[in-house]
Assembly symmetry: C2
Homo-oligomer: 229 residues x 2
DNA sequence: GTCTATAGACTGATAGAC
DNA sequence: GTCTATCAGTCTATAGAC
């Protein structure tokens, strides 16, 4: 239908521009200019700029989470309900990294938009983002199944660090590229994923300061970080 | 002087508001309202909004880098020109984390502003940020001295991951807190620093791509074959 | 140096013809 | 559903009185 064509044209243009330049720097006029539709069409179809952003975020968030959980389930089923920690981390960061660092398909736009959304706290997204917590909690539980002896707090920190490395790699790939003068190959997506997975898995298995000998010359005393459960 | 009081009042108010809400969401009217000065004073003292941001960024950037390099030098001097990798990472991420996660002094504002600046690419900061590369390169070189056998590419990735974990911890401490239901104590600044340092040091020493195809488990080998490939 | 007042340009949103 | 035209509000920046 012609009605849907305008709607999806707006969504596509908005997602691409938002991914590139951020929410506050992209006006509705930029979007309708890119989509080749009329300015009033945005408010007719979505009501407001914020509702347009929210619709984009919800759609993409659900899709990404579905892929993550499918990968997680496949890994756990293959291991009889208990996947290697590397596989759990891979299911968490793989879909996002794969979407963002790959060839410039539409996928790169999607993941970049999601990163942008996680940074710029637009009101409509703030509310939705709380739902993301329960999604991440499922990965925390899977990690606990993978590492039954790990303390909860170490699991949470490991999950946090895994996402941190993945997101920063997407967000600031340019700096890494300049710093390494091209030595860090960001085009090798699977290689990047394995680097993040390896680093996060190391942090999860051996990275708790409680199970790590304190640095010889630690100037400040650490508090006791681990309270089992 | 009265002339300096207006100027610094603007700088303080601007830094605090920018740190809290980002550049594009804070107007000059917000700033002068907070500072208790007149709107025209901003343009009189700084010329434009962008130049105000740039002045803030340059000042804080220089100060942070100075602290980082002082810590690095102290660590390398103590080790005869070669510091443990943990000390190098600690000099890199410690000052920023310490400034951001500590008690709500003026320091938290400073570091939060810098994180904000590294995210939102305002034109004046984009140019200055390239200078940051050469600063980071000094840390890459120090890491190479600490780990002479490591490949350059692994050094760059490790440095990148260290900054990623530190920045994300500052930026998204709220999510980590909610996810862990308060188990992850972000008030224990030195504890957080050690977690980041430990995880980054592990990635730097054991996270090389040699473990890409055949993941070499660290001390905590759990005799479980990888379910992947 | 500090103020008032305002210019000039943009924004998101809407009313009403078709 | 799509368009034109326009509103009311916001912004940065500046001119000119004091």
């Amino acid at each position: 239908m012609a009605t849907d064509r305008t709607r999806t044209a707006i969504l596509n243009a908005a997602e691409r521009l938002y991914a590139e330049r951020g929410f506050s720097d992209v006006t509705l006029r930029d979007i309708v200019g890119e989509a080749g539709v009329n300015l009033a069409a945005v408010n007719y179809h979505f009501g407001s700029k914020d509702e347009l952003i929210a619709e984009l975020y919800v759609t993409r968030s659900i899709a990404t989470n579905r892929i993550r959980l499918a990968e997680l389930k496949a890994a756990e089923d293959a291991g009889g309900g208990r996947a290697p920690i590397e596989a759990v981390v891979r299911a968490l960061v793989g879909p996002t990294l794969r979407g963002c660092l790959g060839p410039a398909t539409e996928n790169t736009t999607i993941a970049r938009f999601m990163i942008r959304a996680s940074i710029e706290s637009v009101p409509p997204i703030r509310k939705i983002r709380n739902r993301e917590i329960s999604h991440l909690r499922r990965f925390a539980q899977a990690m606990k199944r993978s590492l039954p002896d790990a303390a909860d707090v170490d699991i949470y920190w490991g999950l946090h660090f895994a996402l941190a490395m993945a997101h920063q790699t997407i967000r600031d790939s340019e700096r890494l590229n300049k710093l390494s003068e091209g030595a860090c190959d960001l085009g090798d997506v699977e290689g990047v994923i394995e680097r993040v997975v390896t680093a996060a898995a190391l942090a999860l298995t051996a990275g708790s300061p409680s199970s790590y000998k304190a640095p010889a010359r630690a100037a400040t005393a650490r508090g006791r970080p681990t309270a089992r459960d």
